[in-house]
Assembly symmetry: C2
Homo-oligomer: 380 residues x 2
């Protein structure tokens, strides 16, 4: 795996060199993990221009250095650091690794440092300017995030395992007695089962929503108990080696769903299927969103919809691309995204159906569904 | 409770006015919750100079406004928003509430806006400058964090309940069979018990460390199983209405601790007691740290010690003050802090003992211990 990280860093170095920056300071935790294999809390990565490639404007920093605020613990949840990283530096206690990185870059002869202005606080930015006044600080922007959008097969392998774990945890819950249990307990049980099946942890806080809460995106579990006749919607996902997926399903509690429940379920299911079928390399992100949104809107549910239909997943549970009305980009092959339409009727409840899929060429079989739990309307 | 939040905001307004700022933009989540009673994810709070108090340099923004990226859900984990907040604004989908706040301040006639440079990213800072070019943007610094250091009795009441919940969860664990269970399972069970007893959630990721892992601060639970003869160290805490405490204890598994275990335990216990006894209004933070550190150092454990002995707790699990060798301040009454020395012997394990206490005057009975689980060396 070590070469993968070295190649990713080489790509970033080349990009920086092309933009006239001798070195880049990566401070977003997922970005650090993507480039270094692991990310102890608070660690930053200094990626220097490779020796010999220094631009005319100055020599490169020459090596890649991880700077941590405490020693890496070797904890698997922090990932496995690439041992090729030439040096790991610990600033003095209380010191800011980002500031230490700027000092390191300056000492190595770099004249320009590209930083992630969307992650770095103004205070840290000023501190960098104060310790390295001769250093020109530029904006790296979301260069690393953009590199992370298309996944390699190892990354997709991790997502596939995360999805298997998630399906297992959900499947076990469906076999247990649900009536009378609280949302909080069901959520905790799902998280325990994720870990039982090999997850490093939940990918995000598990959502369990019953009755009038059902169908609400991101509902935080309460002490409400599952009752006969309820809709029950759950949303959960595993983190496996840092890679995160999500699944959302809605069930009915009791033997026979009411007519309004069947109708609403069928509608959301149709919207979700339309969006899944719209996933293809070259498809505009906004068109995938529209495929689902227009079905829900034409049934009179256009107003309360979430501002987006889905999003990329990977080392973060929400990353690029976003599937939304205002999204500008197009999908590529090997991009994993969620497709998660939902309708919530205030006071009554609602339906959400959420899958994680990988965009694939038609010749490769079309979108690859990672979360395979049935989407039939089960009565539990 | 509503008056409390209004008073806190009035204090901030007065401070801003004194510094020449018409308005303040608060973006740190715990700071927003402290001033508004709740904090939906991503929400920011615009605190305007009160009407009529506009400084000579310009008129005040005149009101306080919460700006959210999505509607508040009423979820108890987000807190209970002060209904006196005059307006709650939702920027357009995808819009940045901080940028919308700057526009709002400008529209209300503010000429200066103080922002939290230690929270706000450089990119958001630049976006604020772009939408409100006439606005002078200054640094609010850690003004709100400093106001949060000394707690009122309602806040201490929440911490006391959080500690009771934590003690209950830990007490139940001690009554169960431990040998053969994994660190991960024990951590999940502790978190479930915290929620069972009324916590909004764990205050931080629960740490369970067995055998050679024991005594390591912040150890992330693994699949290692508890064995006879192990040290077992746990660190956990409840979040109750946003207020967070922590407790850490170390036990021996089996009937008779080894001599080295007793010796190490007694040493850490003595260090912890010395630091607890040093807690008093007016005591220098570094002196409290030294009280424990010198006992551990004189026994030959000076090198591997954590860079700090303890820290404040409240709406965040780590906040000011820090009890560390380089800390400059003094303690005040009604400041809750942790006292958590530990020694870890690589390959063998170690001991950590961690309490949350409130600094009190001697006349009021001295430091108030919130986490009351016994610190005897129990053999489980």
């Amino acid at each position: 795996m070590s070469e993968v990280y070295a190649e990713r860093r080489a790509r970033l170095r080349a990009r920086c060199a092309a933009a006239g920056s001798a070195a880049a300071l990566v401070s977003g935790a997922a970005n650090v993990r993507y480039l270094a294999g692991g990310a102890p809390p608070g660690a930053v990565l200094l990626v220097g221009a490779a020796p010999g490639t220094g631009s005319a404007s100055g020599s490169g920093a020459g090596e890649d250095t991880l700077l941590c605020s405490r020693p890496p613990t070797g904890d698997p949840a922090e990932g496995r650091l690439d041992e090729r990283l030439r040096r790991t530096v610990l600033p003095p206690a209380g010191g800011d690794p980002a500031v230490a990185a700027a000092e390191t870059a300056r000492a190595a002869g770099a004249d320009t440092l590209a930083v992630e202005e969307h992650h770095l606080s103004v205070a840290r930015y000023r501190a960098i300017g104060a310790v390295a006044p001769g250093l020109r600080v530029t904006d790296l922007g979301t260069a690393v995030e953009q590199d992370r959008v298309v996944k390699d097969e190892d990354e997709i392998g991790c997502l596939r395992i995360a999805a298997e774990i998630t399906d297992q945890a959900l499947g076990e819950l469906l076999e247990s007695i649900l009536v009378g249990r609280t949302e909080r307990h069901l959520a905790l049980e799902l998280e325990r089962r994720l870990v039982d099946h090999g997850a490093d942890g939940p990918a995000f806080p598990t959502s369990v929503a019953t009755g009038p809460h059902s169908g609400r995106r991101g509902h935080r579990p309460t002490d409400r108990r599952v009752e006969e006749g309820d809709f029950l919607s759950v949303c959960l996902g595993a983190d496996y080696r840092g890679y995160r997926v999500e699944i959302g399903r809605t069930f009915v509690i009791g033997t026979s769903p009411a007519d309004w429940q069947i109708e609403l379920y069928d509608l959301v299911f149709a919207a979700q299927r339309a969006a899944r079928e719209a996933l293809a390399p070259g498809a505009a992100c906004r068109d995938v969103d529209r495929a689902a949104r227009q079905i829900l809107a034409s049934a009179g549910h256009g107003d309360g919809l979430a501002p987006f239909l889905g999003h990329g997943v990977g080392l973060e549970i929400e990353e690029d691309p976003q599937l939304a009305p205002g999204a500008m980009g197009k999908l590529d092959a090997c991009v994993p995204v969620t497709v998660e339409p939902g309708v919530h009727l205030p006071g009554r409840g609602g339906v959400r159906i959420d899958d994680t899929l990988v965009v694939r060429q038609v010749a490769d079989g079309g979108p690859e569904l990672l979360t395979i739990t049935t989407k039939e309307l089960l009565a539990l």
